[in-house]
């Protein structure tokens, strides 16, 4: 910023005059006294104004809100994607049907998508026209003019901004990025002498006066752009002489310090051009996006003229609510441009004949996904100060998938409506299993409500969701436990720290006696789980719980085994992510990267993994949890998803149905749902009648990868007899295929194995006779 050497001189130089008699002398003395007193005051005031101006201009001129983006949709052949989901993602990224950058066309499963191009933290994505075909829930073909394409990505949806308190929004432009006709139109209509005056224009005032007298009303303001800029920067809109005076003084000071182009550039970025709810639209670049859905650099003449027309009164000339007024003003701007020979009369005539071209207002995004934004803010709090987030114009690339988020919100709303209970609340999270990226967060019944975020802050007892910890602790000891091992589903009585008796019941009030381990987990047997946990020792179970990612209490009682521990849905997601990803903990992430306003990378939040369990042990637990969905407490899911999706999951219900939980996962996505009341009252819903149904409704609509067919190298699958836990064979009655650590299956064979062996030998012998 260049600063001119001239400084305003404000040193008073009072002179002592000889004393004289008479009223004239007294008056003169009084006047001088006043001057002596007033001049330093005026100088001080002038200095103060000068300081304000220069500090404003020298420092950061504007606080730019951080822009928060969803994850971009990647497109490639083979991607699981339905046509409906693609359309949803396109709309989230502000694509419209039609032509030109940012548009798409669709005919059934055939899409044409014209991308706008985007600068990502890991490189530039060019603007191009894509054609793709969706068939059978997948992208069957992807191409661009000239041939096939391996990979493309859409621009990410803008999902919010982090504003300072006053909610000003703008997109900065440099002077040379603003089309010349727009600047011409601005100068013609607002300040013809801009490049000649020193901040105030007397001829401008005279011309405005004349025009106003002629029209009989105010049609022109006499303020220069410099004055308008000052007004926008500092002053309220009250019309007093004092304010006018200050404005004039500051305009002169501003002109002393800065050159015309700097002032003009500031004006182009500062001018107020519209309002959307609480969000104030400042500057021509943002106004262009706001009204026309595209950048300044591609606006045709008539749209440039409309933006200039708005300077006079963004609400009075609002083209959305007052299109006629807006058009009349725009046409006037065009006529003035022609009169001043900025454009030809012919150009003006053509432009005047065009429609306004304003696009429907995009819904205000700053509050679109408050629960997810909350998670983003918490994530960023580690590395950024709040005021920087609201002022530095950062670009924050998050992990949210708009289509998943919207479906999660809908599933929560639909089920809560179906239950019809006013004060029933819910929370939901969806996480990408391998990357640990959070795809969706629902914090309550009203997804637009930015208050209490249950997904992150409701710490509620998790009930049976804790059970996999005990079974993991057992299966990690493969020499002692396998999925077929029998455990006792028998009554158990314990005394707690306060000397009270604790006798856990099963949900069906029955005790089954010895049951195979997989079944105890799949059917969520309380008594069996407590017996297993006590056999292993509480410490072993707490240890497994902690490694999963759980946060155990300081003192642990046996009731811990049945989930008498409070966790938030986010913490539960953290734990189940460890199971879903095969025993590797991955810190959940909501942010991929942060760029500064110049497009330089500031931070990247990289994937990291930590092996916390043998993948074999986790594979076995997941097998039992798939059993829970196919034939145990989660079998209600069959209403929504076919068994072929390979869902593993666990229900949880706490005492008197106060909390209803379901945590479930497929090969690529994990979902955690909680249903309950804020006052911790009864819901009348179990894990399967409550949370599971939301989960089912949500996952039924998500594009999911097919489950993996193979087993880990360290695992073998064996026939095991249900009632005894002994090694069996296919022909044995009540035998079941179960995965075991390789070489660590049941040591003894069931009796039926040998019987079949004799039968086989007899059959071979008979066969041999005939060959």
């Amino acid at each position: 910023m260049s600063r001119k050497a001239r400084k305003p001189r404000k040193h008073p130089r009072p002179k002592r005059s000889p004393a004289r008699r008479g009223w004239f002398a007294r008056l003169r003395r009084g006047f001088l006294l006043l001057l002596v007193l007033a001049l330093p005051l005026a100088a001080g005031w002038g200095w103060y104004l000068d300081q304000r101006i220069t500090s404003h201009f020298e420092g950061k001129r504007w606080s730019l809100p951080a822009k928060v983006y969803a994850r971009p949709l990647e497109l490639y052949q083979g991607l699981e994607l339905s046509a409906a989901t693609l359309e949803q993602e396109l709309r989230a990224a502000d694509y419209r049907r039609g032509r030109g950058p940012g548009s798409f066309g669709r005919d059934g499963g055939y899409f044409r998508v014209e991308t706008r191009g985007f600068r990502f933290p890991d490189g530039e994505e060019p603007a191009r026209t894509l054609r793709l075909r969706i068939r059978g829930g997948r992208i069957a073909a992807l191409e661009q003019p000239g041939g096939m394409l391996d990979l493309a990505r859409l621009e990410p949806a803008l999902i919010g901004s982090i504003y300072p308190a006053h909610k000003e929004d703008r997109v900065l432009v440099r002077l040379d990025e603003v089309p010349r006709p727009l600047i011409g139109a601005l100068l013609v209509t607002e300040d013809r002498d801009f490049y000649r005056h020193h901040g105030l224009s007397f001829s401008g005032i005279a011309r405005a006066l004349l025009a106003n007298v002629r029209a009989g009303r105010v049609v022109q303001g006499g303020s220069t752009l410099t004055q308008q800029l000052i007004k926008n920067f500092y002053l309220s809109s009250e019309r007093t002489l004092w304010r006018k005076g200050n404005e004039a003084l500051m305009a002169l000071l501003l002109e002393l310090h800065y050159d015309k182009d700097e002032i003009l550039e500031a004006y182009l970025n500062e001018v107020y051009l519209g309002q959307q709810g609480q969000r104030a639209i400042h500057g021509f670049a943002l106004a262009s996006r706001f009204y026309f859905g595209r950048g300044l650099e591609v606006l045709p003449l008539e749209q440039q003229a409309l933006l200039v027309a708005l300077v006079k009164g963004p609400s009075y000339y609002n083209p959305r609510s007052n299109p006629r007024r807006a058009k009349a003003r725009r046409d006037l701007v065009l006529r003035m441009m022609a009169e001043q020979q900025l454009i030809s009369a012919e150009q003006a005539r053509i432009a005047q004949g065009r429609p306004l071209g304003v696009v429907p207002a995009i819904r205000a995004r700053e509050n679109a996904y408050p629960a997810f934004m909350d998670l983003v803010r918490r994530h960023l709090r580690r590395d950024y100060r709040n005021e920087d987030l609201a002022s530095e114009g950062l670009r924050i690339f998050t992990t949210l998938a708009p289509s998943v988020q919207e479906r999660a919100e809908q599933a929560v709303a639909r089920r809560l409506d179906a239950w019809g209970k006013e004060d029933l609340e819910a929370a939901a999270l969806v996480v990408d299993v391998d990357a640990g990226e959070v795809r969706a967060v629902v914090g309550g019944r009203d997804p637009r409500y930015a208050g209490f975020n249950r997904a992150l802050d409701a710490r509620r007892q998790i009930g049976s969701l804790i059970k996999p910890a005990a079974y993991l602790a057992a299966l990690e000891r493969p020499a002692s436990y396998g999925l077929g091992s029998l455990i006792d589903d028998e009554p158990v009585q314990l005394t707690d720290a306060q000397g009270r008796l604790w006798a856990p019941q099963n949900y069906d009030k029955q005790f089954l006696g010895p049951v195979p381990l997989w079944r105890a987990l799949a059917e969520s047997r309380n008594a069996a789980t407590v017996n297993l946990g006590l056999e292993l020792g509480l410490r072993a179970v707490v240890d497994a719980f902690e490694r999963l990612g759980g946060d155990p209490p300081a003192t642990v009682y046996p009731s811990f085994l049945l989930g008498s521990v409070g966790q938030t849905p986010l913490e539960v997601a953290d734990m189940y992510q460890t199971l879903a990803s095969g025993g590797f903990r991955t810190p959940l992430r909501a942010v991929r990267a942060v760029m500064n306003r110049r497009g330089e990378l500031l931070n990247r939040y990289a994937l990291s993994v930590q092996r916390v369990f043998d993948s074999e042990a986790v594979y076995l637990v997941n097998h039992a949890l798939r059993g829970a969905v196919s034939e145990g407490t989660g079998r209600g899911l069959a209403r929504w998803l076919p068994a072929s999706r390979g869902v593993a999951g666990k229900t949880g219900t706490t005492n008197d149905t106060r909390d209803s939980w379901f945590a479930g996962y497929t090969r690529d996505l994990l979902g955690v749902v909680w249903v309950g009341r804020d006052d911790n009252g009864r819901t009348g819903l179990t894990g399967s009648s409550g949370a599971l149904t939301i989960w089912g409704e949500l996952f039924a609509e998500l594009p999911l990868r097919a489950p993996r067919a193979d087993t880990p190298t360290g695992v073998e699958t064996l026939w095991v007899e249900n009632g005894s836990g002994l090694l069996a064979a296919e022909h044995c009655e009540g035998a079941r295929l179960l995965p075991y650590y390789r070489g660590l299956g049941p040591a003894e064979q069931a009796a039926c194995v040998g019987e079949r062996g004799r039968l086989d030998r007899a059959r071979d012998w008979i066969k041999g006779l005939f060959e």
Binding site: Y76, G108, Y110, G146, D434, A435
Partner: protein, 180 residues
């Protein structure tokens, strides 16, 4: 000194591996026909022959011979190749970003996890190098060569962290998987 030398030797070996693995999948066939006009698809276009690159979908593990890795999908393959360029330019951050992007496309392809392990190793993050190599191994099926390389990487990472015993165990695991 000795430590540093062994580190660079392993690194060289592994960078070669990165290239080898990323390039293993067959190159996609290019469509040689006339450029496709980019127009609003007309209804009759539905019957038009679209370019094919095999059936879209998951690589079928059952059809790959034992010990062989399924091919990387072309979308991930391009990213892995660009990650390799970034590694050559010592731009590990970009390399990791590209590999993570590839992993979102092919999340259980063990080669991508191994490549990321190599990137972490190259930038001196030995703990993540080991963890990622472990993850690669859990996805490796019976691709013994890949597993052996992972154990070699783990061995080197452990040695550089000063865990001599752990390194020897890893070396034994690598040897058990066959000759280098």
């Amino acid at each position: 000194m000795k430590m540093r030398r062994s580190r660079s030797i392993v690194l060289l070996m592994l960078l070669g591996l990165l290239a080898a693995c990323a390039g293993r999948a067959p190159a996609p066939e290019r469509d040689e026909r006339r450029p496709v006009p980019v127009e609003e698809p007309a209804p009759e276009e539905k019957g038009r022959e679209w370019p094919r690159r095999g059936e879209a979908g998951e690589p079928d593990r059952a059809q790959t011979p034992a010990g062989a890795l399924p091919p990387l999908p072309p979308a991930a393959q391009g990213l892995a190749a660009r990650a390799e360029q970034a590694v050559a330019a010592r731009d590990y951050d970009s390399a990791a970003a590209r590999l993570e992007r590839a992993m979102r496309i092919a999340p259980d392809h063990p080669v991508l996890w191994q490549n990321l392990a190599v990137v972490r190793y190259a930038e001196g993050n030995y703990d993540q190098a080991e963890q990622l190599a472990q993850k690669s191994n859990t996805l490796a099926g019976d691709a013994r060569a890949l597993q052996r390389q992972n154990w070699r990487l783990i061995e080197a990472a452990r040695r550089l962290r000063g865990d001599t015993r752990g390194a020897e165990q890893a070396a034994a695991r690598a040897r058990a998987l066959g000759d280098d």
